[in-house]
């Protein structure tokens, strides 16, 4: 018996090539194109295919759902359908693929690359046959499923052809007999002058320019979407599609860093909102949904990376879109590791009316001190009744930086409840917190709070506290207590009989006396002004001048 037949050898050769195709395809999905494994398997496929074509001429494969067939013999199948190149091609409508001699390695690589990325194509509603069509491979031909098959196959095809033929016959028969004879009918109709249709060099230049520099599809599309956004009358489904498309486009713009395009989108949406042609929710859906913290971070970070004019533009765009991206800004405030980004986010949030307080309560329970601090800062202007409760709780926050912000907030809010909490702040372990509390209490407290202040002034270690704190406490004491405090202050500025009284205490006492609008306080200041101690004299003189100025102002 002779060796294998020529036909079976040819089939084996095709089988080998298909096997190598599968390996090259699998490697291309797993590895980048320059990876040795990907390059090796591709090279093996190239060799196998070229060998077959050199010997047997072209190789035509019939593509079935789960296998490839050559000359009615199965030459490829794969147990896992989803990993099968046959299924991949079949799924996208390819029914035959033919490789021709002369095929080059680049074409083969392009073919394998198309297969390897077929699933990504599906995500954007592209398909494998279109990808192959666009690659326009010279030595690879493929055939997609009959265009009619999707609608009913040969019956419909024949029907369409019959209709076409009948239409032509009918139209030709509509021409009345004799109407096609020679000679003009009713004078010469208008027609173009061939001479004027000659392309000039300028025409050629313009036309070639238009082809060589195509407009960006995304840019054109964005402009059209923005135009449609200004036209009313879409169906609910259409409106939803419009918003979705604009959102996708905006995401792409953000990812590309195209500030021009982003400016256009934001300005247009703002304009439509201002004119009442679109509700704020529309822009929030379009811009806000796609504005992840990563994208917003990149945008904010770009401020420091571009020229000043461009940076100012980015800042303006951020301000314009602020309301639409509040949740993301808050997320940045909480999550961003970059201090500069957090600062920018905070500035944006703090501008133009602040942030609805409901967004901030969760942040006040965050374990990170700066998140809590920023939330307190933003909540201060909200006027929300719940705020006081949160501030009271946060007075016990372990981080002094938070407690400081709480005190500032209480100071800004004011009122009786704030005053009570400020009084509590006087006992904080941190000097800066106590200082701020004293300042705040001075503005919002009353006589009922004198005791809270005095207990500190009377304490032994009071005079060892920082100068700013001592000054703040004594001023608060004077403001709240008035005349009743003159005696104590009058003693505090004087030297001790035994031991020393720190100068900052003495100076602060004199300054505090200046807060009391009474003759006895004035008298004490006069004494201080005559003390013979220059620093004290200076401060006392200034305090006296302030009193006189106030009295003149009050008296007219």
């Amino acid at each position: 018996m002779s060796g294998p037949s020529a036909a079976s050898t040819e089939v084996e050769s095709a089988r080998k090539a298909c096997g190598r195709l599968h390996q090259a395809y699998s490697s291309s999905r797993l590895y980048p194109s320059d990876h040795p494994t990907a390059r090796n398997t591709l090279g093996e496929f190239v060799d196998a295919l070229e060998s077959h074509l050199d010997v047997y001429g072209f190789m035509m494969l019939r593509v079935e759902e789960d296998r490839l067939v050559f000359e009615d013999e199965e030459v490829y199948s794969h147990e896992e359908v989803r990993s099968s190149v046959a299924f991949l091609m079949f799924r996208d409508g390819i029914r035959f693929v033919t490789f021709y001699p002369g095929i080059e390695a680049g074409e083969i690589e392009s073919f394998v690359d198309c297969l390897a990325h077929a699933d990504e194509l599906a995500a954007v509603e592209h398909d494998l046959s279109t990808a192959l069509w666009e690659r326009d491979l010279q030595h690879v031909e493929y055939e997609v499923v009959d265009p009619f098959l999707g609608g009913g196959g040969e019956r419909l095809r024949d029907q369409a052809l019959n209709e076409l033929r009948e239409t032509v016959i009918r139209r030709l028969s509509e021409l009345s007999p004799g109407s096609g004879g020679a000679g003009p009918q009713g004078g010469q109709p208008e027609q173009a002058d061939p001479e004027s249709m000659t392309l000039t060099p300028a025409d050629i230049r313009r036309g070639e320019q238009a082809v060589a520099d195509p407009s960006d599809a995304l840019e054109d599309f964005t402009v059209v979407l923005l135009e449609i956004a200004g036209i009313s009358g879409g169906s609910p489904k259409g409106e939803e599609a419009l918003a979705r498309a604009l959102a996708l486009v905006t995401e792409r713009i953000l990812d590309s860093g195209d500030v021009d395009a982003l400016d256009l989108v934001v300005s247009r949406l703002r304009s439509l909102e201002a004119q009442g042609r679109r509700l704020p929710e529309f822009a929030r859906d379009v811009v806000g949904e796609g504005m992840t913290s990563a994208r917003l971070t990149r945008l904010i970070a770009s401020i420091g990376q571009v020229p000043p004019v461009e940076a100012a533009r980015v800042e303006r765009v951020l301000r314009e879109m602020r309301d639409w991206v509040l949740p993301t800004l808050l997320e940045l405030l909480a999550e961003s590791a970059d201090k500069a980004v957090r600062k920018t986010a905070l500035d944006l949030l703090d501008a133009e009316g602040g942030v609805p307080a409901r967004h901030l309560w969760p942040l006040m329970a965050d374990p990170r001190w700066y998140v809590v601090r920023n939330a307190v800062q933003l909540a201060t202007g909200s006027g929300a009744p719940e705020l006081a409760g949160h501030l009271e709780r946060l007075l016990r926050h372990p981080d002094a930086r938070v407690r400081r912000e709480v005190i500032r907030s209480l100071d800004a809010v004011g009122g009786a409840r704030s005053a009570a909490l400020l009084a509590r702040g006087l006992s904080d372990e941190d000097p800066s917190v106590r200082t701020l509390a004293a300042h705040g209490l001075r503005r919002h407290g009353n006589r009922a709070h004198i005791a809270a202040v005095q207990v500190h002034i009377d304490s032994r270690e009071f005079e060892t506290r920082p100068a700013e704190e001592i000054a703040a406490f004594l001023q608060a004491y004077a403001t709240l207590g008035g005349e009743a405090t003159v005696e104590v202050l009058g003693k505090l500025w004087k030297r001790r009989v035994f031991g020393t009284r720190p100068l900052p205490v003495r100076l602060a006492a004199i300054q505090a006396l200046g807060e009391v609008a009474s003759p006895s306080a004035r008298e004490a200041l006069v004494d201080a002004a005559r003390s013979g101690e220059v620093p004290l004299q200076r401060v006392a003189a200034r305090a006296l001048a302030d009193i006189q100025a106030r009295m003149r102002g009050a008296g007219g």
Binding site: G93, P101, R171, E174, G183, V211, V224, E227, L242
Partner: protein
Amino acid sequence: MSTELEQSSAARQGQALVLALASALRTAVYYSPGNAVMRQVCAALQKEIVEQSRAEGLTRVGVHSHSVYVNRARVSTTISTYGRFSSLIGQFNSWGISSLLFMAGISEEELLRALVVLANVPPAQVADLPRKLYAAGVEKVELDYNVPGKGTRSTSVTPIVAYTAAMQLGSELGQAAGSFEAGMVRRVRHVTQAVVDQILRDPVALLALTTVKDLDRYLILHSTNVAVLSTLLGQRMGLDKTRLGELCLAGFLHDAGKLGVDPGVLHKPGFLDAREWEEMRRHPVLAAYALLSNQRLNVSNMRAVVVAFEHHLNYDLSGYPRVEIKNKLTLFGGIVAIADLFDALTTARVYRGVNPTPPEAIANLVKRSGTHFDSTLVKLFVEVMGIYPSGTVLALTGREAGVVCRPPALGSPLDRPMVRVVVGKEPGHVVDLNERVNGQYVRSAVAVLNPSNRGQIPAVDPATLSSFQ
């Protein structure tokens, strides 16, 4: 990886080579080898071959899908090179070859001998080209013949198949009332690709089918016709295959919005009043909505939405819908606008007093150049269609009359198309108005006829519609 500069330089070099080859082959038809002009073009070609061979040692000029390739790189066709490129492609197709290979070191003399053989081979002897070249002492030029299909079905999609598939799809889209499910979108794409392939193979094959016209199925046929006409114009401009595919798709879907217009207005067999026009003017925006509803964002879908929105905008933006930020029409929008109006004008309506003939439709376009339409695009469209487009009924000298069945060949006068004689000595015979004997035209157009006020009549012979071949 080559830089942009290197790629640009390579592209220019490739184009120079192709133009030199086209020029040399054409010259070799008319001039003897010793002629100074022939020597000059041969020298120019050899210079380009030497330049090209520096990098790769040989130079291969190939043709595929109506594109020219030098070695592995596609050489872009432009408006100004289109004629010469088409001539070269036609030459390759007539020889049945896919590429010409020039070896490094080919002398000017050997190249000249090769050109003489190639340019003068009789059609019946093209299979003998290798032997003839060898006999002429040419060893450094080789040919790659097109591989005939061994029962391959890759050319089973003929112009008629592509056109009727598009018609059928248009009909189904109409029944789906503009709803584009994913499978439908894919079929639209495949059908428009088939249309583009046909146009690349034979730019004029589908043109005749666009003259069929049927008012009862206007919307269906109109989508297909606009797709075909737009692609023809795009091809003339030198758009590559991918962009032609996008353009064809956009042309096919440009009126998707009409399915949302009040049917009473859409199918009204008469002129529209002001309110009805207002309703009709909604269709570009409705089209955009319809196309957005079921589609993902890829380049071809985006371009289709843009074209649907702007195809009535006009070149000077004076059309509709009114725009506030858009400041120019896109290239595709400009192309589809021209195709749209031409097909609309050449579809006869019962209520029109006079249905324009195709030349009048062309004149209408020309009149609106610079305002409604880009003037360059109009000129190119006229070049593609001719002054007497297919479906024009002409009275000819010699008391003949016929229907224009093909536009003038590239490079021929725009008013000298191919005509199928209807009245005359040989009815059914196709004559070329560009044919000359002793320097005189054999026949010329005397007048444009408008029999039965039908405007454009079918240029396709119904007998050719008996099968799909």
